[in-house]
Symmetry: D3
Subunit: 317 residues, 6 copies
């Protein structure tokens, strides 16, 4: 492609952007981004982007509304500055779990965000391990989506652990398909499911957990896309232990880790949480059990291929 490649970062994950620019063969294009005393965000791109093929690195992680608005404002500035093409690299897509109406009079915020991104003027988005693949269909047809899979990043590491006698566990009934797909790549490991249900004997306790499938004496790998407060997997790990499981590993792409989840994971029976840097590490909320793999190489590959008009799906063949 004859347009020059430029990479800008928002405030959400500048470390990730720094990992990307070098291998992508460019310098980071500076962007002034500050918050005024009244809370309004101000953005100015520091040098001309006219005619350029611009990529913006910004996961919309916590504080999601700040990060999202900063991103939209950056797009507005880039568009007005006549960038030729604006691609948003959003390794963690906030609000992904609000992708359907679970009750009357709820929003579908995930779709709203996709619309806002279109309205601001983005031409493309690059997303990683979406909570639901249908979210790709939320974007207006003029916003092209490249959906990347971080599987290979995780699998390489997990295989290096040499775990034997492994069972892949879905932490809930909604994640069985994802767990199954993951198991396939691990020599077609067997599957177990943690099923949350009402306990008929203890009426005042709303729900109890049960394991569907056999985990006794096995190493377990709980697979999820997002770990938020971590409660589900911590309770699930306890249950697996009660059911005779050997070591418990957890694997997820997006470490939201709300409510100081890191500390609770540290204290849990979980051996290790294998995750990525799609969301930046919060030094005040981390622990030794968390292994953060970088998605920078994956993103660099995708950015180069998009810039050079080469197939992105080939990355996953």
């Amino acid at each position: 492609m004859d347009k020059r490649l430029m990479i800008v970062t928002g405030s959400a994950n500048p470390e990730l952007a720094k990992e990307i620019v070098g291998p992508a063969g460019v310098y980071l294009t500076e962007c002034i981004s500050k918050t005024f005393a009244d809370g309004e965000r101000y953005v100015q791109i520091s040098k001309t982007v006219r005619g350029a093929d611009v990529f913006v690195i910004q996961p919309t992680c916590n504080p999601v509304n700040e990060n999202l608005m900063e991103l939209l404002i950056m797009v507005d500035a880039l568009k007005r500055a006549s960038a030729e093409r604006i691609t948003l690299v959003i390794p963690y897509f906030g609000y992904a779990r609000q992708d359907r109406k679970a009750a009357g009079r709820e929003p579908i915020t995930s779709k709203l965000v996709a619309d806002l991104i279109h309205t601001a003027g983005a031409d493309r988005v690059v997303l990683v391990d979406l909570h639901a693949e249908q979210i790709v269909g939320f974007f207006h047809k003029d916003v092209r989506v490249d959906h990347l899979y971080a599987n290979s990043v995780h699998l390489k590491f997990i295989k290096s652990l040499g775990l034997e006698n492994l069972v892949v566990v879905s932490p809930d009934v909604g994640g069985v398909k994802r767990a199954r797909a993951f198991a396939k790549k691990l020599d077609d490991a067997p599957l177990a499911i943690i099923d949350k249900r009402r306990n008929p004997l203890e009426h005042n306790k709303a729900e109890s957990l049960a394991v569907v499938g056999d985990v006794s004496g096995k190493n377990c790998l709980i697979v999820d896309d997002i770990i938020d407060t971590g409660n589900t997997i911590i309770k699930g790990a306890d249950l697996l232990k009660k059911n005779g499981a050997n070591k418990i590993y957890v694997c997820c792409t997006h470490p939201v880790l709300s409510n100081n989840a890191a500390a609770r994971i540290q204290e849990s029976c979980i051996e290790m949480l294998i995750t990525t840097n799609s969301i930046p590490e919060d030094p005040a909320n981390t622990c030794h059990k968390i292994e953060r793999l970088s998605v920078a190489d994956l993103l660099v590959d995708a950015i180069k291929r998009i810039h050079n008009n080469e197939s992105v799906s080939e990355l996953f063949e």
Copy 2:
């Protein structure tokens, strides 16, 4: 609402439309719809719809492209005829399973169809038991969606069967959540899953099935949203039998029944297929084991509430 209610039907399921109009308190508004010798569809609404609140009944079942195009052309005619509001009642939403890119360079036809419906000029759609709830988010914000659940129709009938010692079975890993939700309404029945996997001993046979969970000596209810060729559930039923299951019932909302599925179901070990008339019965492809429940009452309720500006979500509380 002060606008008059009118109901029109396309060619896909006129029987369903006839079941609806009476209870909805109106006559069916006639619509000339014919195919010219060259295959082009011609449509003309037979009487004035100016200012009316028009509902069009049309599942986009097989032949899906004919039915979809007829629907779009009807919307064009209604819009040009100054209908005040056009609501499409699509009890079966064709192409729903093409809701994500499973491989590179695939379409997301489900999203395309949602866009076509918007372009034609529909104001609202009424859908039933979507393959994925995210499809609601595929529609442009100016097309309001009411997503109805046929659960209650099925559950009333199933309870009337007085089945005991029941286990709810998901026919694959993608349907566990749906099966679990269904089980909840059946006294929180236990769950089993049919898992499709490569057989390590027979390399030339691509896949084999296994049951996760206990079905021995139990009555099974396989729950799915769509039954297409029926191969998955017929093989699944065989497997359940091999695993000691008692009687096998199947429940689905949308009886696509391709490739003469009815005959094969008749010959299978399945006791009964409980389904609905979201797709019309093909007299050449039916059998005694199929119990078709009508969704007409559900649709009448929804149409009346939409017309009268009353809550639709209340129907499912």
Copy 3:
């Protein structure tokens, strides 16, 4: 143009596509297109089209709804696969005759189709001998239209026949302008018109035909854009004969030939039907009197000029 040229074909007229690719200097890009058992169309482009200038060959002839939907789905797949520009080459534009409301509460399906094509995401269309030139104005301003004229293809052949004493005949009052323009290119041949009118003497017979203009002892060339069932031209030819015409030739661009028109033409007094391959030949519906000229060269010229940013209107100067 620096983008690579790629050509894909739908299922409607693959033979035409094969005639085009070689002279256009490329191979046909493969595309999987199949119909599932339930009637849903599935499409997948077989190799990367990222950044390419893609042309899709697809007349929307009978079965028009299947062909149109396949085309729209292909556009969706191409767009999601990041084709840089998508040009639809539609040598026969189905539904062209539904271009106005002839009565209340009719659709304008031709406009609807133009809107659907825009919605799917096409950037350009190439059309041939439209039923009404105004249809160009039905397309959204972001879909650029190149309207090609097949006149030169017909004229070259007709001149080679060496017909003398020729009168050009319009088969009805709506086609006089087209016939006149054609006559101009044939040494300004005289004009006759077949006029359909009520017969005042035979009240129960709705209409009778009359010739306006002189055809006695002359060779006639009936000119039309589309021949559908062929009834109009067959009856017209009989009438011309009754009025003393010598040989009757018919010329049209689009051989729809519904209701086994070929057999009826064979048996009629028509000498020859000169037409094109804008619509593919149906082996079960053809006859010796039909001379099919290829529009492939015309389309190759247009494709090359569009790809190379050269004037298309120059082709017709």
Copy 4:
């Protein structure tokens, strides 16, 4: 309809508006419309239109650009003033003849105007005897079009003339269909066509006229939609006379009458020009031979029916 009816007029044809308001049962809503010294148009609606069903009367006749821009600005003002619905009554639709590309690099101004009307915010348009019926399809689907036919107005008057032995004449090959439709309503009168062609004997004279069909000894009624400079019909009338015609009447809906056409018609062999007030009379460009019939009643009927949600197509049955 519960919204109040309001009627506003632009500067193009206030006399027509005055004829309309009384029978429509309302007063004319005042609107300040003036041109500043620098040529900019200023518009202000004089009283509140909030929630009203507003009709604006404005043919876009000469000066077409002034009238069109005034209309668009009025729509902007009405929309911002929260009119509930804005219907443009455009009895003469300027630029209608620029409805297709006759040569490379031409605009389709008629489509552009339809788009501008949509952009300004109109909800509906009412048009009369469009140059091409396809123009209805130029409007965005959110602008509903009512296309009215002034036939009945003309026919009633023409019948009152008691003309016998009448032949209906199309002034050119493009208008044959219109003339034919008109003839049908006049006891299926016979048809003749004035054909413009190159004269093979006089090479330096570009074109000569010929009559196709028999007019000798007959009264002729030339039928057209628009009479602009009048040259075509004056020359045509001369030719009819040379071919032995008796009296020549001309009938058209839209009297553009450019280049002082009235004076030339007065001096011609035309007996009478029967037309309407879709375009206002210019006192400096009129003559005794012109009979102006009013379309006010037709427009009042349409306005009332649109306001009351009654069928408009019934007007023409």
Copy 5:
């Protein structure tokens, strides 16, 4: 209007909403709005709004991004819940000062916000004393804007103070027009301007202030639309004092009061800051010198008039 009026509030200024509902004759419609542990906002409207005329009260003050996103999500929920019309009452429109590009590669965030509001699905907005009146033109034509003026609220109070010998002061060159308009309503009080300029004698000091106009011995009323950090008016007040002014009053509509402006105003020579509750009071950032007038009555008037289709501009005549 026949639709029922409903009022909902976001989290930004619930007190103002409470002041509005009673006089508007309705109860506040409840809305669950909470922030999840991961920072994502969740919203659910508590009862049916189908067919209702819904007003949402939400100034987009600090934290502006949180408040804006909450508002957009509420609109999404209301729209999906089939509210008939959604009007956003935004007494303080955040980002209003980012209404133009002051330098290259800046955004126009104010326009972006207007676009986001349109995208979310709002039908109308009600704004108060916009920083620039042109912002009304930033909204898409389908979002109707009512721009209210709080002048009357301020003027009534100021007149009650009985200040004599008053000069109205613009705090900078950009606000002269606003100050002049205000002065007109105060018996055409004289005008003074605080002009910020470089000091030619002190080169290292970037800027100094000067008063244009006479303030000696007079009571001053500094008029502004927004007071943010308060630095401009505090320095301006000092300068006025130095120039012999008597008492200094300040009047503004929107009390942003960043950086603990209240404390600094308390310590300044300003007698009183007359402002409104367009932005809610922060108990930790207030002082005795601040007089907060309520805009609730103004908003109630506007809401009633909009709901009843009565003129809003009449409020300001």
Copy 6:
């Protein structure tokens, strides 16, 4: 940029276009533009623009509606002719002063025009010294705006006059900011303001003027963006004289000069009007006191930079 640069001109200011093409390194691309007898504009681009980067030079000065419509029609023709990018160079943007609603039921014509330009299909606009900078925000996000400042053109000339003891005067309260910015570039010259107010002593005279600031014995430079009828500056100049001013110069970008303003300026006490050729000179309305500086160089710089993807904001650093 690899696309070829082409420049076309409308009828409004062909002289300016001629000044531009040479320095821009191209020939003027011819365009047939004529008005038919009925007032309709016809446009045809004379040679192929397929794939080209086309700039259209057209200020929308008086006759503004003619010039605007011609511009829109040219865009339509260029777009249909497959120009790759269409940039409108509009040195004077007509209707700029109708940028806000000053009273109820007024339009915002400036926004309407921006929308019409988008609808016609322009990709970019280049504007000069807009009446309000917010107008940039009126354009749809897909129309990129480059706003140029003619300051440097004026300043260079004014400095060459060697005026001493200069005070910069704003002709009204709305222009103080513009005057202040201009003064900054003239060694931070002092500021005065002409304030229009009611005269308390002469009740029957609506308004009188007063000078705020000191002008006695000084040379005055009245700074404005547009001079329309010139009444404001002529009266202002008189007042400055009465207040003891020395010589009076006036500087503006856009010389509208309505109502034969040139003659009145010639007779006034104004020494010189320094303006530009953003609007062409009317030979019948000019005078010796008017000094027209050319903005051609500025526009050439901008066109080249836009074509070559170089920063435009750098021009003003």
